[in-house]
Symmetry: D2
Subunit: 347 residues, 4 copies
């Protein structure tokens, strides 16, 4: 077998970062990843301090970020699980150092113009940032395999965006959706999607036995969805909700077909689009995915139900927000970037 | 003060029946309700057997149903918290006995024709059943106060139906919704809405950490919604979901206005419609209701968010499915039927 | 009916404070309570800002604390739902102003010496503080009715302490416990017991699907327990656990009897002790209380199971930590202080 | 690499059986396991019918149990995840067929005499059953490695028993516990421990927001604990509780040492006992395990806290009841039986 790849993770102390670290650790093509922390991060020195479940495996030391060390250790691929401001600031240097980068934040997912509008944030070096934005590949392997394979900078998609784009892409590609009627995604996410920082909104007593809608018409992930799906802003209405569960996303998506179809045709459309794609499972109607089914896996599960009129169509899309919605997808992207089987390290 | 009303409850051993019993017990206008059980019910003899939380208040004996006893005890109002088949079979006799009836099941909510289509069920005496169906008043006091006041048979609305109808009635009355675009209600309910019978679907391990959609395009409550709102079947798409919480409903409702409106206009429309109605709270935009806020109350909480285009409108409607969605609404109906303040016994 | 009592609450923005506010609002003997906030509190100006469920009842304005205003409004009884440092600092002035005080914190529950050891905190005026400590009555009405009736300062018990003391008091009074063997209380509490401040320990993702033990041998409530029960420190081992539920406490308590007894004798011992006490329910063996049964009530539910040897005894004690463990008990104490029925305002 | 082992599973449709199937499937030393169902089982024909999360991996067909087929397929090891009555009836034939057996039920864990007392059940062939009972090895690899290695019939331990025995074995072996004082294990388990059959006790609404104690002094697992630990029945008090979580066990165990010890000594005692044992993690005091840490792993996590007197000791022991408490331990036993590394297939 070939020499193992050297990787590093910056930001392992968040939920996605932890999940990523665990996946990388047991990936058969990799050496044990180097874990690094930002100077102004949360000060964690060993991951097991904040995730005691990690104890007993020789420690998970977080070293201060050092480009010199990355180079001397022979690291070729850097994962960033940092806030988008940090990613925006660090990626230019990483690329300049010759590293390939998979960034899990929203920093590089959008075209420059939309990015500026959504993430009100100034780049230190606007020209480089703009060039990198052009270069960055949106890391949804089911849509962009070839570009990811050769990318130096991969922008790992948002969790909600993954669940919505994968459900809609086949039907939009087939041009069977009546866009004048608009598309609605009513999405529900577990709390890990809101991050690990304590806040009144993530307090157990606020979340348990509750459900709430938030960021109506204004959630940042809408930008990714419309860009990737080629929609105008007003063609997609997206409403996220906070579920009293630790992890998992279910999106219930409402579209109107521009001509009556049969359930068989809809199913074929989905199946053909994802033929040969390991990580999307299409459920035969009337079976629908539930959050449980894809939990702790890298699957995106898709199901649907068609009204008797053959035109009102409801899609149901489920993922684990920390896996297919973050760390699992990052590993899948790595597999594509290095020409490995997409399943490696993800069973 | 006038003599207290005598009431009886049949079916107190379900979730709604228990909640109803508790409300009736402390209602200032009532004597302690008589609790009865059907011969082919679950055999419970004292409610405290299955709800030990009731112990210590003199017992909650369930006597076998007896019309003679109801008459001799001077009972005037009978609550049925029974399955719809049982309600359909028992109400004719109750009405013949001169009782007023509030039925919490789906037995009398729909016009005869739709009823036959949705509840595939034959009546023993089809003529009487059909006449009673005509007589029955849909017990949503915010819409039908006067009819409820004089009704002999009140059909207490379904829980989902309550949350959806109350959100949409004002805008439909104002004729500002573009019906050609269709209305979508993506609704989510706690598990008590599924009843107390154990099943694989209500097993803790199936529900916890999960979310699932069910009965797409086929849920029975759609019948009530379209009838009460004057919609055609295809104008309303309703998708229920099972939430990992014991109680509470949140409906996220998507409509398109037939002309651009301001948030202020939308809010006025809602506020004016519910002016003087105690049990509907309209939240000022951008504040949205959450399941928590109406839990353990009889409130229906309404909020909304309008897109920048002034036409895409999202309504959020929350109720406690066991109160405004069942037992609380039944008590509110009783208050209307006897000319009492709608708030009595519901604080 | 006599004129209604005027009361005020300081600290209504915490979980216990909110629950207390709700109870006081509908208490038939009271005017609507005045809500006040500390200068260095959390800045809330209207309770409905942080508890939107309160909206629609005329507002819950929090005014800055002012002794002048309390006096001019004719307030006679002040409830403090503040951190213990704040209570310790404010009570001397409140008493000097002639107010009666019910304090929900740990500030006045312990004898001076133990207090200094457990709450490492210096009083501004040590002499006054020490005198008030002597005067303060431990507000467990089942044990100290007469003293509470005439108290000026009532120290409302801790939630864990309430569940443990009420379970053990009858058997200790009857001198049937073998103290040489030690008493163990393995207690489990919902998250509201940890307060409303967000922290990593109360984050939904940390608590859900989890259980953890904490403060082994060192929890502050042990002080109250041993003082009230007349035990030495080493005779009681108390272990609290954090449950993934919003509210409720269950204590499983292990004792050894100093002679074999029958279950009937044990039950009699409990029943006689609590004869005439509304708010303690003794369950007939083998029925045991569960957290559910006392939730949203002011009951302390007690049950037990005796080993075949007649000496190993397990007591199970349940309360709602925000009611019998905090706000409900405070109202019960008020009822005793003013000679009202202990049930008033607590159904 | 040697030829892969052929295994079969009977009873894959329960929670433990599903978990076991998943583990066996990706175990590097095994061929894909054959799944079989009993004639009077639940009729499932493909596991994916009841566990749709399994879809997309070529199916999980359950064939009718057939000794002929097991033989012709070359199966050498049979896992039984069946009710204890079924295991008791089937094992004699399996052994007669020359199969090695790992049984996950309680059928073969106890000495004959105790078994008859606890499981009131008559064997068809009492002599064979009694002989097999003598032969059966209690499958706790940390205690009985050598016997398991050569066993034909391994009785996989109960979940509660695993958590309690592993915590106590080191200290009992070291004879430092004062047995006259008695040992108490207050244990709490997630709902999957109660099995997959729907019942009022496992209904979501009964479990959520609740906690209850059950089977006081009478739980079947006590038999295993006292036998394995060499205790008399009265020396161990065991109280199980039902937690509102899907999986995980935490046992809080109270012992008194027969002489004052230091925390260091206690830790050494635990560490030495488990030196070289992969699947037990000893936490350095004052760090304590939580349910979360061992979830979805095969670890048993042990921690402790010692009172200042050096004699009152509290042990905290956590496992995932479906892994170290059932399926994971079964795989660990298989690893020992075939001389493989205990970690194989369990990362």
């Amino acid at each position: 077998m070939a020499a193992k790849l050297k990787t590093a993770v910056l930001g392992a102390s968040g939920y996605s970062g932890l999940e990523l670290t665990r996946l990388l650790e047991r990936h058969p093509r990799l050496e044990r990843p180097i874990l690094m922390r930002r100077e102004n991060g949360d000060g964690t020195k060993d991951l097991a301090e904040i995730f005691p479940e990690l104890s007993g495996n020789g420690g998970y030391q977080l070293r201060p970020l050092s480009w010199t060390e990355l180079k001397s250790q022979g690291v070729q691929l850097l994962f960033l699980a940092t806030p988008h401001e940090a990613s925006r600031a660090l990626v230019p240097e990483a690329i300049a150092q010759g590293l390939r980068v998979i960034d899990l934040s929203g920093a590089w997912r959008l075209k420059q113009e939309r990015h500026s509008a959504i993430y009100s944030f100034e780049d230190a070096d606007a020209i480089t940032a703009s060039e990198l934005t052009d270069q960055a590949v949106y890391g949804l392997p089911e849509l962009h395999t070839d570009q990811i394979a050769s990318a130096q900078l991969v922008a790992n998609p948002g969790c909600y965006a993954t669940s919505v784009i994968l459900a809609l892409a086949p039907l939009l590609r087939a041009r069977v959706i009546d866009l004048d009627r608009g598309i609605i995604s009513d999405s529900k996410s577990g709390v890990s999607g809101a991050g690990k920082s304590p806040s009144p909104h993530t307090h157990f007593v606020s979340v348990a036995d509750n459900l709430s809608a938030y960021s109506l018409f204004t959630h940042r992930h809408v930008g990714e969805m419309v860009e990737q799906l080629g929609l105008s802003d007003s063609e997609l209405t997206f409403t996220p909700h906070l579920l009293p569960i630790p992890r998992g996303i279910l999106s219930t998506i409402y579209v109107r077909l521009n001509r009556p179809m049969t359930a068989r045709e809809v199913e074929s459309c989905l199946r053909e689009f994802y033929s040969g794609k390991t990580w999307v499972r299409v459920f035969p109607t009337p079976k629908l995915p539930q959050v449980h089914y894809s939990l702790h896996t890298n699957y995106c599960d898709l199901g649907f139900c068609l009204a008797e009129d053959g035109q009102r169509l409801i899609l149901v899309s489920c993922i684990d927000n920390l896996l297919k919605g973050a760390a699992g997808q990052a590993v899948q992207n790595m597999n594509v970037m290095y020409g490995w089987d997409e399943r490696e390290g993800l069973h």
